[in-house]
């Protein structure tokens, strides 16, 4: 007989299965498994604590999950495993957002990204890279802590969406020498060599972990739809969209075989001796930017970034009352970007092809001192006081060259040559009033010579309502100081900003977390308000004429010329719900996870209210894995999904506004040790994306024109298999 309500039967069967699992195992070990599955995080309040009582929505992604679900980059880790965070592929390094807010074009500057507690956001623009150019070897990652929500209270600028702290492995967890080769067939190859060892020096125990890596990608040769740019307003003929092409007015309509590539060598070294730790990291990242309005499939349009950082940390326990740490750090960053354009409106110098070259370099050197006061010597009432001082310098140039001759088409813009000292002080008090209740409050003051001091407070409370259940709420704030590049720089096609102010966000969060054995449920809601968002605003024709007359740019005027300026253009209101459920059954044989975020984000401008482009209102992920054990592979299935979302140019540029279809990415991964050869492990995964277009308008047609009324959306690499091998000596 068929069941009348098959879905209900399945659900009941599942619950009974869960209950059976509990009765078979739980009376023995489920509570213990629950304690062992509780993430310990230290990024939310600079103290190690249970994620459930941390003063923000905190998750921790494990190295095992990165491996078993076929994760290749930090961006994929966020997409497939995290709660409330999603990324968006723009074929130029990617973008990241959280809880329904994604600020396209921000270079990742609204997330504070750290490796072992050292910020890796670049000193020039505050940008971060989570894709292949991140320079953080995946095999060296122990876990990734993700704190969602404003987090400037202890970390200062950039932590507006939250922060990502990549914690690398200790030497004991990466002992020996490791050789890795991985390929997303046939377009990329990643080779790496890493090592971990412990030693004794001067009577102190020490350890060293390191990895050197080289990544190269050529392709995929994606097909870009044809766009017709029509008559060039500068030449009066159809536009030229390649160096050698005639005035056809056509862009795309072919596979891009030259302009999709990336190359990134990187290295990371961590040495610890006693309570002192040295951290070195360096990376070079060269990649194309094939989607812009310049020439089609030109390999020279792209960016080259060089980053190097050093950090030295020392901690001493002065007494049972006081613990002091000092952290010295320095970062050097250099970027070179090129943009090739032949159309007259972009290159108004006759029948030549322009190469707009922007070079920038920046560094900072700083020292952070922190004291931790455990007043009752029992972790009940702890004060953290800290101070951070940073000297920084930025320099940049911007020029326009003739691609053929290499000569300047007009004088080089002066660019930036600035240095200053920024300082900050912060304080945090945590108070465990009684076993179930924990309070936390703090504030940070950041001083930057360009702005008035910014104060970012946070108050939070967590309440262990019942066994395994914690309710927590917080009010938190964050800010982002616009970079020197945004406040003071001008380029060939961008004029300097006027009186740019820091962006600010404040957020109210409530989260309920419940543990049943090794199962963890998170249910939360949030309301955030963002002020003074900085955006690259296009100048109207009148504004462009005024800028040219005032000498703010040396570009000769031509109707339709695209000049821009950074401005505090809008506020955003953002609210929604997020949920996550994860755990394991049968002592880790079966693992699962699920997260879903629904959020509304409305941009408030003088012109009215609009939806934020590229940001999905609903997104999440789901995964399950079977850890078969012995010589059998671990089989894992993961998916992440993004709801329909407006494309980046969806503010009236086209009618109707372009939307990207919902995207679902499916990934199947098998991993394990090669039978009879334990030192060799493998990982094989296949990835399939359901939608063939993403949320970015590509090519030169950035608003509807007679010859091209509909926008062309970015193509997606839909199917890819990846094979990786790792040998441990």
């Amino acid at each position: 007989m068929k069941p009348r309500y098959p879905a209900a039967c399945w659900l009941l069967g599942g619950l009974l299965g869960l209950a059976g699992e509990r009765s078979a195992f739980a009376e023995d070990t489920s509570a213990l498994e629950g304690l062992l599955s509780e993430p310990i995080v230290s990024s939310a309040s600079k103290q190690a604590e249970d994620a459930s009582s941390a003063p923000a929505l905190s998750t921790s992604l494990t190295a095992e999950d990165l491996r078993r679900y076929g994760v290749r980059t930090l961006a994929e880790a966020l997409d497939f495993l995290a709660i409330a965070v999603s990324t968006s592929e723009n074929l130029s390094g990617g973008e990241v957002g959280a809880r329904g807010v994604l600020l396209t074009g921000d270079h990742g500057s609204h997330f504070l990204v750290m490796v072992d507690g050292y910020a890796v956001n670049d000193p020039l623009r505050g940008g971060s890279t989570l894709g292949v150019g991140a320079g953080t070897p995946l095999e060296l990652i122990d876990h990734i802590e993700i704190i969602v929500g404003p987090g400037s209270v202890l970390y200062g600028s950039n932590a507006m969406f939250g922060l990502v702290n990549v914690v690398t492995k200790r030497a004991k967890d990466y002992e020996g020498v490791h050789v890795i080769a991985e390929s997303a067939l046939p377009i990329s190859v990643r080779v790496a060599a890493g090592a971990g060892t412990t030693f004794t020096l001067f009577g102190q125990q020490g350890e060293l972990t390191t990895q050197l890596e080289y990544y190269k990608q050529k392709g995929p040769d994606l097909f870009f739809d044809l766009a017709d740019t029509g008559i060039d307003r500068f030449t009066g003929q159809p536009g030229r969209n390649s160096r050698d092409g005639g005035p056809t007015g056509l862009w795309g309509g072919a596979r891009a075989t030259n302009a999709l590539y990336a190359e990134s060598p990187s290295a990371l070294l961590r040495v610890g001796l006693g309570n002192t730790e040295l951290h070195l990291q360096a990376a070079y990242y060269k990649h194309a930017s094939p989607t812009g309005p310049g020439d089609f499939d030109d390999p020279d349009t792209g960016d080259r970034e060089t980053r190097a950082s050093i950090g030295l940390n020392h901690r001493i326990a002065v007494s049972t009352l006081l613990d002091v740490s000092a952290r010295a750090y320095a970062t050097y960053y250099e970027s070179k970007s090129a943009f090739i354009a032949s159309r007259g409106v972009l290159c108004p110098f006759g029948l030549v092809t322009c190469n707009y070259v922007d070079n920038g370099r920046a560094h900072w050197v700083g020292l952070e001192l922190q004291s931790t006061w455990d007043w009752f010597r029992d972790n009940r009432f702890v004060t953290i006081l800290g101070a951070d001082a940073r000297q920084r310098s930025v320099a940049s140039t911007s020029e326009t060259r003739d691609v053929e001759t290499g000569g300047s088409l007009y004088p080089t813009a002066t660019g930036l040559d600035n240095s200053d000292v920024i300082t900050a002080g912060y304080a945090q008090q945590t108070w465990s009033i009684a076993p179930p209740v924990k309070l936390s409050g703090g504030a940070r003051v950041d001083s930057d010579p360009r702005f008035k001091p910014v104060v970012t407070p946070r108050v939070a409370a967590s309440w262990n309502l019942w066994s395994g259940g914690t309710l927590k709420g917080s009010y938190s704030t964050a800010f982002r100081a616009p970079s020197w590049d945004e406040t003071d720089n001008s380029t060939s096609r961008r004029i300097q900003a006027d009186d740019l102010q820091p962006e600010k966000v404040q957020s109210f969060d409530v989260n309920l977390e419940h543990h049943i054995g090794a199962h963890r449920l998170v249910l939360g809601g949030f309301y955030s308000h963002w002020d003074n968002l900085v955006e690259l605003a296009p100048l109207s024709d009148a504004e462009a004429i005024r800028a040219i007359r005032n000498g703010q740019t040396k570009v000769p005027f031509t109707p339709g010329i695209q000049l821009t300026q950074y401005r505090n253009t809008s506020d955003v209101t953002n609210y929604g719900l997020n949920t996550g459920f994860e755990g394991s059954l049968h002592s880790g044989f079966f693992l699962y996870g699920f997260s879903l975020t629904g959020a509304l984000a409305e941009r408030l401008t003088s012109a009215g209210t609009t939806r934020l482009p590229v940001a999905p209102q609903i997104f999440g992920n789901a995964r399950l894995a079977f850890v078969l054990g012995h010589d059998l592979p671990t089989l894992a299935f993961a998916t992440h999904f993004l709801g329909a979302r407006p494309a980046d140019l969806s503010n009236g540029q086209f009618s109707p506004d372009p939307f990207a279809h919902p995207q679902v990415e499916l990934r199947l991964t098998a991993s394990g040790d090669v039978p009879f050869l334990k030192a060799l492990s493998y990982r094989l995964s296949a990835n399939y994306a359901v939608a063939d277009r993403g949320a970015y308008v590509v090519g030169p047609v950035t608003s509807g024109i007679a010859s091209q009324t509909a926008p062309q959306l970015i193509p997606v690499d839909r199917f890819r298999t990846t094979l990786g091998l790792q040998y441990a000596f």
Binding site: L35, R377, A389
Partner: protein
Amino acid sequence: MRSSRRQLLGFAASLAALSLSRRGSAQSMPVPTGAQAELIAKLAGFDRNFAARAGSKAVIILAAMPGDADSMSAALEMKAAFARLPTVGNLPHEELIVTQSSPGALADLVRAKRAAIVYLGPGFDKQIPAIRDALSSLDVLSVGAIPGYVPSGIVLGFDLVSGRPKLLIQVVQARKQKVAFPASVLSLMKVYP
């Protein structure tokens, strides 16, 4: 320019000054004391000999290395963390903090107090082999705050792997000290032979 160089020199000098002072132990605990206490309280209930060893009340010795601030902090924090737990191994419990560097004296204290658990904070790394030998003939669960203690002969320890607590056990020493966990619990641990 000169002032920024002076600032940098100041930074370097203060860092060097901090580096020279060594009041704390070189090893810090990877797992917070609250989580350690909860794990010990749960695990003790799985030890088949725990109830017989402890009697009506579980006595827990929290050993701190004299003169080591990290070690004393760990002992104080563990005492506070245990105080928040109604039972350890399903028994009422009492904690004693001792500052002890002599393995023999520590073993004597375990005998005298009929301690069920002896917890070693940071700072004991050089004494662990001697402590192992001194405790070998006793019926006691020895627990180390530092993962490195376990391979050297402390029965139970904690590590943080992939951001989650991990249990470590030295099975040979566990047998000597009459600590017996069932296979279902051992399967959750990293076992050192």
